[in-house]
Symmetry: C2
Subunit: 394 residues, 2 copies
C-alpha cells in the first residue's frame, strides 16, 4: 500500500509524555503581550466554523467595520492580517514598495529600525532620519527630510513601544501630501488606547496588533490602506512579492467576492470580533480617557517613589510607560522577582535602552486603577530591597 | 496636548452595537477547518503569558519536539510559523529560493498551482510538470523531469486537498539526492492523519497546518527544514526577502538565544501544544490507523449508496475523501442543506473540479465512527430528495 509503507518503523525518540497544560495566570504589565479580556478568551474557545460559512462572512464584515471605527478611518481595505502585528507591518511595505522606491523611515526607537530592515528586503532605496530614543520628530525636521530625500513613502511609528514616546501627528499628513508621498504609520501600541484619527491625520497605511489596546491575545495584525496607497498598489507592474500578505488577493476574500485565499484563523477572529465589540461598547473617547487616567496615576505614583520617567510628559504614551532603573539597582533581578514571586510581568529595555529602563504597559483590559495600585505597592515595598542588595554586592 | 488633540471629533459612522458572539456548533467535515479537540479549545482560552516567559520558552521546546515526532524528523529547525499553513508554505520557498533558482513544481491539483505562484514571487525560474486532478506522479515521470529541468528544488504536495490524492513518496527523496536537488513537501492534509516519514523519505523542507490532523484551530503553520536546506539558507548572498518568515531570525528566537523577533501568538501555541500532546498520547500508528479505519467505513458506505469515489483506492487519502456528485444533482444545494439544516459542513470542488465533487474531511478529532454514521445517514435519507428536485427542475 503506497500510502502506508509497512516497512518503516515509527521513531519515538521525540515522543513526549506530557501533563496537560498548566500555565499560571500572570498579570502582564510589560510591553506585550498584555492580558486579554475574559470575554475574548471565551470566544477563542468556541467551536470553529468554516472560513466561507455565511456566519463567518458576516463576522468578517463586523471586524472590518469595527476596525474602521477604532482607527477612525473609512478605508475600504481594512482587515486583520492572519499573523501578528509584525506581519501587518510587513504587509504595508510589501504591497506598496516596488524595487527602487525611496522609503524614508523616521527612526526614534527599535520599531523604526525594523521598518528599515523590512523596507530593504523589498528592495526599497531606504533613507533614514534619526532621533535619540526618547524624543520625537518636529514638523520642521520631517519637512526638511522630505525635501532632501523626496521619498515615495514616509514611514514612522506613532507609539514607540521601545521608548514610550508618542509622535505628534498633526500636520504630518499635510506635509506628505505637499511633498507627494504616502504616510505609513505604526499604531501597534496606540490602537484602542491612544487618540488616533487616521483619516483626519491623512495616514495612507497603518498597522497594529490584536493584543495591547484591543485586549485580544496576539496573533492577528490589523491592517489598513487608504485610496492613495491603493492606487500605488494597483499601479504595480509586478506581483506583490509576498503571497500571504498580498492585499490584492486578500481583498478578493475580504471583499464581496469571497474568493478563497488561505484558511482563516477563525478562532482568533472570534476573539478579535469580541475585543472590538467591547471597545465599541465602551466607546473610543472613554477608552482613551481611561488609559490616560490610569497612566497618570501610575506616573505620579512612581514619581512619588522617587523614580524618573524616561519620556517627557508632553510626549509620554499612556499605554506604555518607560521608567529609568535607579542607579545601583539590578533592573532584571527586580523584574524577575515580580514575575516569579508575584506573577507580574514588566518589561526591560530594548537596544540602547537595555538595562536602563523598565517598560510598564497599561493596555486595554489591563488599564485599571487596581492594577496601578498593585504595581505601585510592589515598587514601594519590594524595590528598596533590591537597592540595598545591589549596594551590598557593589 | 499633542497626543490628545481636542479639536478632532470622534466619527461614529463605523461604530456598531453588536450582541455577544453566538456562532453555532458546526460539525466541520469539509476540507478544513475541521473541528478542534475540546481540550485544545480550552487551552486557547487560558490567560496569555509573556513570549519570553521561562514557562513559555519551555512550551516552545515541547511544541518543537512533538512536531518532530509527528513528522518523524530530527530536524533542528522545526517550529510553527505564526501564520496559517499557507504562511508556512511560503516560508519554505522564501528561505531557500534565490532569484533565478530553478524550482520544479509537480502539479496535480490546486495547491501545486499555489506553489507555482509563490515560487514565482521569489523570482524562481519555475518549471512545471502536471498530472490530471485525480492522479499522482510515478517515479519515472519525476526522474525524467529532474533530468530535463535540473532544478534546485522539487516541490510537491503529499496530500492534495483539492483532489483527495496521496502522492506515494517512497524513492522520491533518493531521486532528488541523485539529481542534487532539495525535496519540498506539502503535508497540510497528511500530518497527524496519514503515514509520514520525513527523514526516511529524505524530505528537506515541509510545512503543514494546525487544524486538520492536529485538531487545533487554524492559525499556525508547522514548518521544518533539514540540514541540506539549511545549508542553502546559510549560503544565501542576500537577506531572505520576507522578514516575518525569515528562519535565520526565527531560529534566534526558537533556538537557544531567545532573541525577540515578533510577539508570539501565545494562545494559539497553547492550543498547538495540547493538540500535539494528545497526538503523542494516542500514538502516531494509532492515529494513522484510526483515520484509515474511519475513512474506509465512509468509502464503503458511500459506495453502498451508489456514489463514486473520485480517487482510485490505492492513492486515496484517508483524511479527505472526494466523491463525485451524481448526474442531475445540484451539489451545492445539498451541501447548503447539510449546513443550514443539520449543521454539517462538507466542501465543494476547487478549480477544474468545481461542481463535480464533494470533499469530505475526516481529520483529527473528527475522524470517528459516529461522524461517519451521521453523515452516511444524511446521504442516505436526504440526498434522494435532491436528485428528484434536480430531475424535476431539469
Amino acid at each position: 500500500m503506497a500510502i502506508a509503507p509497512s516497512h518503516l518503523q515509527i521513531d519515538s525518540s521525540h515522543r513526549r509524555d506530557l501533563a496537560p497544560i498548566a500555565t499560571p495566570d500572570r498579570l502582564l504589565l510589560g510591553p506585550g503581550p498584555s492580558n486579554a479580556h475574559p470575554t475574548v478568551l471565551e470566544a477563542l474557545s468556541r467551536t470553529p466554523i468554516g472560513h466561507l460559512d455565511p456566519l463567518y462572512v458576516e463576522l468578517m464584515g463586523e471586524v472590518q467595520e469595527l476596525l474602521r471605527y477604532a482607527w477612525q478611518t473609512d478605508n475600504r481595505l481594512t482587515l486583520p492580517m492572519s499573523g501578528t502585528g509584525s506581519a501587518a507591518m510587513e504587509a504595508t511595505l510589501a504591497n506598496t514598495v516596488e524595487p527602487g522606491d525611496r522609503v524614508l523611515v523616521a527612526v526614534k526607537g527599535y520599531f523604526g529600525l525594523r521598518l528599515v530592515d523590512m523596507a530593504g528586503r523589498y528592495q526599497a532605496d531606504v533613507r533614514v532620519i534619526e532621533k535619540p530614543w526618547g524624543e520625537a520628530f518636529s514638523l520642521d525636521e520631517l519637512e526638511a527630510a522630505l525635501i532632501e530625500h523626496r521619498p515615495a513613502i514616509l514611514a514612522m511609528v506613532h507609539a514607540e513601544t521601545s521608548t514610550g514616546i508618542c509622535q505628534p501627528m498633526e500636520g504630518v499628513g499635510d506635509l506628505c501630501r505637499k511633498h507627494n508621498c504616502l504616510l505609513l504609520l505604526d499604531t501597534v501600541t496606540s490602537l484602542g488606547g491612544v487618540p488616533l484619527h487616521l483619516d483626519a491625520w491623512k495616514v495612507d497605511l497603518a498597522y497594529s496588533c490584536s493584543q495591547k489596546g484591543l485586549s485580544c491575545p496576539p496573533g492577528l495584525g490589523p491592517f489598513t490602506m487608504g485610496p492613495r496607497a491603493e492606487q500605488k498598489l494597483s499601479a504595480r507592474t509586478t506581483k506583490v512579492p509576498n503571497w500571504y500578505l498580498d492585499v490584492s488577493l486578500l481583498n478578493q476574500y475580504w471583499g464581496s467576492d469571497r474568493v478563497y485565499h488561505h484558511t482563516a484563523p477563525v478562532n482568533m477572529n472570534f476573539g478579535m470580533r469580541e475585543a472590538l465589540r467591547l471597545l465599541a461598547e465602551e466607546g473610543l473617547e472613554q477608552a482613551w480617557a481611561r488609559h490616560r487616567r490610569n497612566a497618570e496615576a501610575l506616573w505620579s505614583g512612581l514619581e512619588g517613589l522617587g523614580l524618573v520617567m524616561h519620556a517627557p510628559l508632553e510626549l509620554r504614551l499612556p499605554t506604555l510607560t518607560t521608567v529609568r532603573i535607579p542607579e545601583g539597582v539590578d533592573g532584571k533581578a527586580f523584574s524577575q522577582h515580580l514575575l516569579n514571586n508575584h506573577g507580574i510581568e514588566v518589561g526591560g529595555g530594548l537596544g540602547v535602552l537595555a538595562g536602563k529602563i523598565w517598560r510598564i504597559g497599561l493596555m486595554g483590559y489591563n488599564s485599571t486603577p487596581e492594577n496601578v495600585d498593585r504595581l505601585l505597592n510592589l515598587f514601594e515595598t519590594e524595590l528598596p530591597r533590591f537597592k540595598q542588595t545591589a549596594a551590598v554586592a557593589a
